[in-house]
């Protein structure tokens, strides 16, 4: 089981990876989204916000309605945002649950692919 801090660190790592790729900022400049990341086995929640191509992550509960809700066990979330596993495998076996439009889900996977590679 991963800790809340480990999930926070993985999300920071994800953010850094995003910022290093200038193409991502350009490609997502029209994709303004609020994404909630929730651990199912520990008390941990983060809000990832994409606005005008810029990505930011904060801890805590969101006061606005999200576009996407990403829920999984803490271990999967930490591995996922560090890029040690692809989202597809836990998604296909049901460990990773994502609520939101299919296009948004695919877009999030594309971003992960561009940050971490295959």
């Amino acid at each position: 089981m991963a800790t809340h801090e480990e999930i926070s660190a993985s999300l920071q790592s994800f953010c850094e990876g995003y910022k290093k790729n200038s193409k991502l900022e350009l490609m997502n400049r029209d994709w303004n989204r609020v994404i909630i990341i929730k651990a199912s086995d520990i008390d941990s929640q983060h809000i990832m916000t994409l606005r005008n191509g810029e990505l930011a992550v904060v801890q805590g509960v969101s006061d606005q309605n999200p576009d996407l809700v990403v829920t999984s066990d803490s271990e999967t979330l930490a591995d996922l945002f560090y890029g040690d596993i692809t989202p597809t495998e836990p998604y296909m076996n049901g460990t990773l649950v994502i609520q939101g439009s299919e296009d948004d889900i695919v877009r999030l996977d594309f971003i992960s692919l561009m940050i971490w590679g295959e």
Binding site: E6, A9, D67, M92, N93, G100, I105, L113, M114
Partner: protein, 452 residues
């Protein structure tokens, strides 16, 4: 906390019915009527719809347990095992490609009838190119547009049926005279094809407020389609000679011309185009997303996970499906064996529904404590009926068309070989590449991260 955008029941019904309505369903409807004596086609269609409702209930329970766009891949993986789920999903995708081939053939024949100077191949190429470009650009059919399109289609079909029945001063004769049990079973088996694709709406489960909406939407869509198809088929066979309809890939166009002349042809061409483009689009999206996600989990070569940096679409997967779909369509155009693909889809769909019924039973035994937001009432009765009846219907198709059994068996063997031999090699190759080129990023437990 609620999602910003959620889909309504109206859109779920429209999507489920819209994905099911295609040009090749008219051909299948005529085949259904051909198995029966008198005007009993409605009986086979309504029975087919009722049976599909048992499958819809099973999909509803499975979808509630595991609400995911991964659909049957995930349900079957939990109920049976990962390998079987992958084999069945791959074969299903191949059959969907076949349906697209049959669909393109029918649509090309319709357009060639109206504009005979343009060869059918040009129409096929044009349609595939349009849908491929739409997919490459990432343009989606909006919910409101899908609603308008589907409900207009259904109303148009009902209007055609009512006009035809009034014009012919129709009297129902031999409405229950099926001409024998064998004919009825075959008609029902083929009647299942009329509803192929109603369950493709389950990926939208991540976009609704409650999973129950998807289950209800599927049932409503099947109910509406059952009545529409039953009326339309009875009207077609009552007003146009059966031998003319049965020998043609465009029975609905002949029917429309007979009822309303050239105005009817124009109206029917518009209906056919709308029905086909939505089916084409849905088929291309489903298969290309399956190819992309399979590549992402290293089940297919990594080349299929390439994405367009401009449009965020899996372009290699889309272009691959374009090439395969075009090749299948050309083969269908040359051989004119579109009915074989229709029968193949009916058999495959029956197998999928039988497996869904069994999956419900297995999961209730394997995971009795799992949360089930939607539970089929009546215990094991409905899932058992679903499993037994659809197994029987698949067998009926195989008995009537042994070539279908041969092709499905070959496909099954090929997919099994791929999953058991090639997939482990691809995964091993990926693991080796990953361990040599990319160390694990996440610090081991206890090690301080640079964010501490």
């Amino acid at each position: 906390m609620q999602l910003k955008k959620v889909l309504t029941l109206r859109t779920i019904v429209a999507t489920s019915a819209g994905l099911t309505l295609s040009s090749s369903t008219f051909v299948a409807a005529v085949q259904v009527a051909g198995f029966l004596a008198g005007d009993a086609a409605w009986l086979a269609i309504l029975t087919g719809g009722l049976l599909c409702m048992t499958a819809a209930l099973c999909f509803g329970e499975l979808n509630g347990m595991t609400p995911s766009a991964a659909g049957i891949r995930l349900y079957f993986s939990r109920a049976y095992n990962e390998q079987l789920a992958l084999i069945v999903s791959m074969l299903y995708m191949v059959v969907i490609m076949g349906v697209i081939g049959a669909e393109s053939y029918v649509l090309a024949q319709v357009l060639s009838e109206v504009w005979p100077a343009v060869p059918a191949l040009v129409w096929i190429l044009t349609m595939f190119s349009i849908v491929t470009v739409i997919n490459l650009l990432g343009v989606k059919i909006a919910g409101g547009f899908q609603n308008a399109l589907t409900y207009s289609l259904i109303l148009s079909l009902l209007a055609f049926a009512v006009i035809a029945l009034f014009k012919a001063d129709f009297q129902l004769t031999g409405s229950l005279a099926t001409g024998g049990a064998e004919g009825l079973v075959n008609a029902v088996a083929l009647g299942v094809f009329l509803f192929v694709g109603f369950e493709w709406v389950t990926p939208l489960t991540e976009e609704v407020t409650h999973h129950r909406i998807v289950s209800r939407g599927m049932l409503l869509a099947i109910g509406i389609l059952s009545v529409t198809y039953a009326l339309f088929t009875v009207a077609m066979t009552a007003t146009t000679p059966r031998e003319v309809l049965a020998g043609s890939p465009i029975p609905h166009l002949l029917f429309a011309r007979g009822i309303l002349g050239e105005a009817g042809v124009t109206w029917m061409v518009a209906i056919t185009l709308a029905a086909s483009i939505t089916t084409f689009n849905a088929g291309l999206i489903s298969v290309s997303r399956f190819v992309y996600s399979s590549a992402r989990e290293h089940v297919l070569p990594p080349v299929f996970s390439k994405i367009s940096l401009r449009f965020f679409t899996p372009w290699t997967a889309v272009l691959t499906i374009f090439t395969i779909g075009l090749a299948i369509s050309i083969v269908v155009l040359v051989t004119q064996r579109y009915l074989m693909l229709v029968n193949m889809a009916a058999a495959m769909e029956s197998i999928i529904y039988a497996l869904a019924g069994l999956a419900v039973i297995r999961l209730r035994q394997k995971m009795p404590e799992a949360d089930r937001p939607y539970l089929i009432p009546g215990g094991y009765i409905i899932p058992s009926i679903c499993a037994v009846v659809f197994t029987g219907l698949a067998m009926a198709v195989f008995a009537s068309f042994p070539i279908v059994l041969l092709y499905i068996t070959l496909g099954l063997l090929l997919c099994t070989w791929y999953v058991k031999v090639v997939v482990p090699k691809l995964k091993l190759c990926y693991q080796e590449k990953k361990t040599t080129t990319r160390p694990r990023r996440r610090p081991v437990s206890g090690e301080k991260t640079r964010f501490d």
